[in-house]
């Protein structure tokens, strides 16, 4: 069991990784990555019950699917620090011949990745299949997912959301990153979705809201509640309220850094706000 300070230090290092990865290739998605750093660090280092090593089937261990694949920098950094592959490999992000493709893929055999994502809206369906496979295998471990809020505009999600409760898939915890931003602006500007909570409730899900989605303790507390709701006949949704670009003052509260890399000065500024904790790759 890691303490909060250790998780926070890891989160800060993950933030540095994200910024440096995206800066190096002058491409990638820092905003959503920074906003989800606490969540994924907590998930992989505290919440999920994982086995050593990696196998595709993930039998008798919790598995995670990243549906909003564009936040690959945070996913890769967290996977590397969790021991799935060498942290130094983050150096190859988005470069030719790399296993760290712009969006995650199984194609290159990167340990930790069980499905390709990037084209939005497909992750929940895949997670439901994996959850149902667990039930067929009498495997009582859980399936976790992460989705962007803008991603909910893809209709396939609602097919999956309807299916999950109808078929009582109660070994799944789907987390929605509610940062309120997408590429073209705020979600309320691009396509207002109303109350996402009411929608999930109306579709028969149990919903937990984590108001402070960039606070490790709040995440651990909220996810413990979510976990306690599994196995009771309903799928579980976690609404995680985060700030896009969290941890870098000029990247916060805006969609501007959704898919844009910092220049040299901006990188220096951003890194100065996130001092080295575990050492850079």
């Amino acid at each position: 069991m890691a303490n909060t300070k250790e998780l926070q230090d890891l989160t800060t290092q993950v933030r540095r990784d994200i910024l440096r990865m995206v800066h190096k290739v002058n491409s990638g998605h820092p905003g959503g990555s920074l906003g989800c750093a606490e969540f994924l660090v907590a998930l992989y280092n505290e919440i999920m019950d994982r086995k050593d090593g990696f196998d595709m089937d993930g039998i008798n261990e919790d598995v995670f699917f990243l549906s909003n694949g564009h936040i690959s920098p945070v996913f890769y950094s967290v996977l590397a620090h969790a021991g799935y592959f060498p942290v130094e490999e983050l150096n190859t992000f988005r470069l030719i011949d790399s296993r760290l493709q712009g969006h995650p893929t199984t194609h290159e055999g990167l340990p930790g990745v069980r499905i390709a994502s990037g084209s939005l809206g497909q992750g929940m369906s895949v997670a439901l299949g994996a959850a149902q496979a667990k039930k067929l295998n009498n495997d009582s471990t859980l399936v976790y997912t992460l989705h962007g809020d803008g991603e909910l505009q893809e209709g396939q999600n609602w097919e999956a959301i309807m299916y999950a409760s109808a078929k009582k898939v109660d070994n799944i915890i789907c987390t929605i990153d509610l940062n309120g931003q997408q590429i073209d602006g705020s979600t309320d500007t691009v396509l207002p979705m109303g109350s996402i909570e009411s929608k999930f409730v109306a579709f028969g899900w149990d919903v937990i809201t984590i108001e402070e989605g960039n606070d490790i303790d709040a995440i651990l507390k909220g996810m413990a509640k979510a976990k306690a709701l599994t196995g009771k006949g309903k799928p579980v949704c976690v609404l995680l309220k985060t700030v896009m670009g969290h941890g870098v003052d000029f990247m916060m509260y805006t969609h501007a850094w959704h898919g844009k890399a910092p220049n040299d000065d901006q990188l220096e500024n951003a890194l100065s706000q996130n001092p080295v904790t575990l050492g850079d790759y």
Partner: protein
């Protein structure tokens, strides 16, 4: 000349249903999914015998493809069932990302392919699906010709590790392949021997090719008929060996001539042994409502169209 006869006609989709039912008894990892078309896909027997291994998804094909991909993570071998149109074009991106690019062991089983769906008309008669699926890296594409071959193919693809597109039809067609055949993915079957022209056909057009070869024989033309049940990977050797003897070729398929079997064959010939070729297929058009026989006639997908194409291509030698 070797001739083929039949005593019974049966739909190829029932061959799928029978194959799936057998898999239900022999392979505990096989699971089935359907998007509200159980009867059309003939999945009833599998479901009756293995209710816990069947997933009714509802009218939500994108979700079905994703769930199928997910079920492989945990070692299952999912067989999805819906019409060919909704198995391919409707869910192309889901198949591309979650199944093909992710190299998941999903068997996409598609019924009611092609014009012979009949009266439902163009919205349901996909004639582009072979092209869509063969262009996906890693996807195996199979289009069997009769009940027995479809059953054998269904059983065989469970043993193949990787995504497969299995295409079959709605109407009853003659059963002329043996019930105990061994189905080998990627291995073409030579049905008749000939010296004047090669006819390579797939799916429902294989029987028409055999009928055409009889008519050609009456006219003194010796045709070699090859059943190409696997369009990808394509048995290039069988095609090249045959045209080495005959010097010309006709391809026949219930599919648009753009993107189908004919184009795959043309590439093999162009890069190995340039050979005169004629294409029997739909001519870049949508279908329409009608009986299967009327449609096959109107769109030139029958034995007489194959005979005409053979006579044309022989002149080009």
């Amino acid at each position: 000349m070797k001739t083929y006869t039949y005593t019974e006609k049966k739909d190829t989709r029932s061959g799928f249903g029978a194959g799936l039912a057998e898999l239900g008894r022999t392979n505990p990892n096989v699971v089935a999914l359907c998007a509200d078309l159980i009867g059309s896909l003939k999945m009833d027997e599998f479901i009756k015998e293995n209710p816990e291994r069947f997933f009714q998804i509802g009218i939500a094909e994108a979700n079905m493809m994703g769930i199928a991909a997910g079920l492989t993570i945990g070692g299952k071998i999912p067989f999805t069932g819906t019409f060919a149109n909704f198995s391919t074009g409707r869910v192309y991106d889901q198949i591309r990302q979650s199944i093909a690019y992710s190299n998941k062991n999903v068997k996409i089983c598609a019924s009611h392919a092609g014009l012979t769906l009949g009266e439902d008309g163009a919205t349901h008669q996909i004639l582009e699906d072979i092209g869509l699926m063969k262009m996906l890296p890693g996807m195996t594409v199979i289009n069997p010709c009769d009940y027995n071959q479809t059953k054998a193919a269904t059983i065989a693809i469970a043993e193949h590790d990787g995504p497969v597109y299995l295409r079959f039809g709605r109407p009853s067609v003659p059963i002329f392949t043996p019930a105990d055949q061994k189905f080998e993915i990627g291995k073409a079957l030579q049905l008749t021997e000939g010296t004047d022209v090669t006819i390579v056909a797939t799916g429902h057009l294989v029987w028409e090719a055999l009928e055409a070869s009889k008519a050609l024989y009456e006219k003194g033309i010796s045709a070699e008929v090859i059943d190409i049940h696997t369009i990808k990977p394509l048995d290039a050797k069988a095609i090249l060996d045959s045209v080495s003897k005959t010097g010309c070729i006709v391809t026949a398929e219930e599919h648009n001539i753009l993107g189908g079997l004919g184009e795959s064959v043309a590439r093999v010939l162009a890069t190995n042994k340039p050979t005169p070729q004629e294409f029997v297929g739909t001519q870049d058009t949508f279908g329409e409502s009608g009986t299967p026989a009327q449609l096959m006639d109107k769109y030139g997908l029958n034995a007489s169209a194959i005979v005409n194409a053979c006579e044309t291509v022989i002149k080009r030698k």
